[in-house]
């Protein structure tokens, strides 16, 4: 009997089950203890629980608000939405500029030109070895002290103004005509995709290359612009009134320095990803391409880049995710994105730390899940086929 029990205890499968039960029990015990204490603490401190606070009046103004309806009389839930939108806006801005800069620097790292190569290296080594928070604070303090006061703004064609409060751009007023502009843009893009597909098919079947650039210019750029001018949508220009500008789109200096720092910092990583992607392409590929009579540009566009991107894009998408997460450091300069508004101001007013921080985390988790989903789809699509 005893030996049977002993041999049962030494059975690997039985052990595994026992171990897992033990693990669950231990974790459940600690979770229960924590929850119990939490409830007790909350009761003692008189903190409310639940998500009822979302419908309370927020009572604070928000600096940067791009297109949502928001006033201090709005609810906390609306403030939450403003935070999410502002996070996405700064992330998308940062991703755009970081990609452009990263691509340029990454290619420069492999340039035949000594000076360009070295400059790219110095840029990368400098900016990736300084913490991003320090860079944000640095650019913020520089922008505050170096940019002129609103009265002496740097003026571009009387329509764009830059001063120590922010960047002011003309704003298209969305009246009824705006719908037609948007519709024509969609129609243009769809028509262009159709034409592009047909030309690709023709290329596959006959080998004849048709140039579609003209269609692109005409359908995607020209058509919406013509509709835009015809529909009577107008731009509202920022005007200096009193101490500051009114009207137009107002990008605060906090937004400006945050987006700038994020772009500069993340671009170093994107550049490295692009460089290692290009370096990963076997030199035989380039030689084979030129042996087949492809020109330098063709070989880059048709042979090298498609293979380089397969290696480079996953780390680049990871960097996009990092940039989005790093945008939460806005709390240090006070750009009103999710963490500043919600885990900052709302938390201070309401005091319900658990609910608020969990909601904040859920937003970021959703963003990461979406991004890793995109990454997985990409990886599946890009897998080397035929093996």
């Amino acid at each position: 009997m005893f030996t049977k029990l002993k041999s049962l205890l030494y059975n690997n499968e039985v052990r595994a089950v026992l171990f897992q039960i033990l693990a669950v029990v231990v974790i459940a015990y600690f979770a229960y203890q924590a929850f119990d204490n939490m409830m007790l603490n909350i009761e003692q401190r008189g903190i409310r629980s639940g998500f009822g606070f979302l419908n309370d009046e927020a009572g604070f103004a928000v600096n940067d608000n791009f297109f949502l309806d928001y006033s201090p009389a709005s609810t906390n839930l609306q403030a939450f939405y403003v935070g999410i939108v502002n996070t996405l806006i700064v992330a998308i801005t940062g991703i755009f500029f970081a990609s452009v800069l990263g691509l340029i620097v990454g290619i420069s790292r492999l340039s035949g030109n000594y000076l360009i190569r070295k400059m790219a290296t110095v840029y990368i080594e400098t900016f990736r070895n300084i913490p991003i928070l320090l860079q944000i604070l640095f650019w913020y303090s520089i922008a505050l002290s170096a940019f002129p006061s609103p009265k002496n703004s740097i003026n571009f064609f009387d329509s764009i103004f830059l001063n120590s409060r922010g960047l002011y751009l003309p704003k298209p007023i969305m009246e009824s005509g705006f719908f037609f502009v948007l519709a024509s843009l969609v129609v243009g893009i769809v028509a262009y995709i159709f034409i592009k597909k047909r030309s690709n098919k023709k290329h596959d079947e006959t080998g004849v290359v048709t140039n579609t650039t003209v269609y692109f210019l005409g359908l995607v750029l020209l058509l919406p612009s013509v509709v835009y001018f015809a529909s009577g949508v107008y731009l509202e220009y920022p005007v200096l009134k009193g101490f500051n500008f009114r009207g137009g789109v107002d990008l605060s200096i906090e937004f400006f320095s945050l987006a700038f720092a994020l772009s500069i910092y993340t671009a170093t990583y994107i550049a490295e990803a692009i460089r290692s992607g290009i370096e990963s392409v076997d030199s035989g590929q380039k030689e084979a391409a030129s042996a087949m009579g492809l020109t330098q540009t063709q070989s880059l566009r048709l042979v090298v880049l498609p293979q380089a991107l397969r290696v480079a894009i996953p780390p680049i998408i990871n960097q996009y995710l990092n940039l989005t997460k790093n945008s939460s450091l806005a709390a240090a300069v006070g750009y009103t994105e999710l963490v500043t508004i919600f885990s900052g101001t709302v938390l201070n007013v309401v005091g319900q730390a658990i609910e608020i921080i969990i909601l904040t985390m859920l937003v970021y988790l959703t963003i990461s899940l979406v991004i890793s989903l995109i990454l997985n789809i990409f990886n599946k699509k890009m897998q080397i086929k035929g093996k």
Binding site: A16, F19, Q20, A23, V24, I27, Q33, A34, N37, M38, L40, N41, I42, Q44, S111, G112, N113, Y114, L115, I116, M119, E125, T126, N129, I130, P131, I132, L133, L134, L137, F138, S141, I142, S145, K325, N326, S328, L329, A331, A332, V339, S343, L347, A353, I354, I357, T360, M361, Y364, L365, S368, L369
Partner: protein, 365 residues
């Protein structure tokens, strides 16, 4: 027999000598290349002089100057000099500074001694021993006790705080990370599920939300009597965060081990613990070392976030020092100085990790 005297070697033509050839190959190989060179030169001309002027040529190196006489045209080094102790030690009491210095000196001594006995058979014992004993010694030195005066953690700051938090973070997250990585590779579904959820959750949210969680929510989980030190809360948050990243690094190492190693260990009749400790982990950890250093670099960068939850790391000292009425408006000096120090530390670490990468990759070929 005719004798042919050795002819004098001719110099290569001017266009083929070293410097000119180098210029031609690297800077002016084609028209577009030459254009790039000029653009690059112009960019350097735009950027470099103002930076150099500010840091060196227009800077005021008079270390006794005050805020007024220092001027605003260039960097004010007197500000750095006046606040240097604060940048390094935070608000640690003056007469106790030797304790911090001893702690740093001990680290250096341990590393030097460790590299001296590289060949010794007791090296592993030495390393494990120092990992176990040193933290206790360092804690007593910094915090006090055993006859030393107690220095509360809110006095800690500056570079000291950064080093302390980063070191505790890496040392504490290492064993936890190994456990999580093994859990993620495990065949036990429940364990694997828990590990995956933890790792993906932590990696999906920004560190700042975890720090908020640790500083605001964590105290709620414990019974009311327990008073949590602010620094301890931050360290717990950082460790929980770092654990997930270390786990992923080690998982990479585990996945690189050929299946034959597992099978051979099983065939040799090793138990799970023996297999893991004697066969799998030694190899997996060795492969992971460069990435572990990389993750330590990231952790070092991340410690600047302590500023947001109100701890005085080096970055926060800049704010504290330049809001002092004697030195108003010297943020830029502070940021530049801190950036220089952190840059030197991070750059040397990343060089080191590159060297490790080379060393370990050649050994496997």
């Amino acid at each position: 027999m005719a004798i042919y005297p050795l002819k004098e070697t001719k110099q290569p033509p001017k266009s083929q000598t070293k410097a000119v050839l180098w210029l031609k190959d690297n800077l002016f190989s084609s028209i577009s290349n030459a254009a790039l060179t000029f653009i690059a030169l112009y960019v350097i001309y735009l950027l470099l002089p103002p930076i150099l002027n500010w840091i060196i040529f227009d800077a005021n190196f008079d270390l006794t100057a005050d805020n007024q006489s220092c001027g605003r045209d260039g960097m004010c080094w007197a500000f750095i000099n006046a606040n240097l102790k604060m940048f390094i030690y935070g608000f640690y009491p003056q007469e106790e500074l030797w304790r911090v210095n001893t702690m740093f000196g001990l680290i250096a001594a341990l590393i030097v001694f460790g590299s001296l006995i590289k060949k010794s058979q007791y090296r592993v014992h030495y390393i494990i021993g120092s990992f176990l004993i040193y933290p206790v010694v360092a804690f007593v030195l910094l915090y006090g006790g055993l006859g030393l005066e107690i220095v509360e953690t809110d006095k800690w700051g500056g570079l000291t705080l950064t080093v302390v938090v980063a070191t505790i973070g890496i040392v504490a997250s290492f064993p936890l990370g190994i456990l999580l990585a093994l859990g993620r590779q495990s065949e036990m579904r429940v364990v694997k599920f828990i590990s995956v959820i933890y790792i993906e959750f932590v990696r999906g949210v920004p560190l700042i939300t975890i720090l908020f969680m640790a500083s605001v929510v964590l105290p709620l989980f414990f019974s009311a009597g327990m008073d949590f030190d602010k620094l301890l809360r931050a360290v717990i948050g950082i460790t929980l965060f770092q654990t997930a990243y270390i786990a992923e690094v080690i998982r990479g190492g585990l996945q690189a081990i050929p299946k034959g190693q597992y099978e051979a260990a099983d065939a040799a009749g090793l138990s799970f613990v023996q297999k893991t400790m004697l066969v799998i982990l030694p190899q997996a950890l060795k492969i992971s070392i460069p990435n572990i250093v990389g993750s330590f670099i990231a952790l070092f960068k991340d410690t600047t976030l302590l500023l947001i939850i109100g701890l005085f790391d080096m970055l926060a000292i800049v704010g504290a020092a330049s809001s002092n009425s004697n030195w108003l408006g010297r943020e830029t000096e502070g940021y530049v100085f801190v950036a220089m120090i952190i840059w030197v530390i991070l750059y040397s670490m990343s060089r080191y990790s590159k060297r490790l990468e080379v060393r370990f990759s050649t050994e496997h070929k």
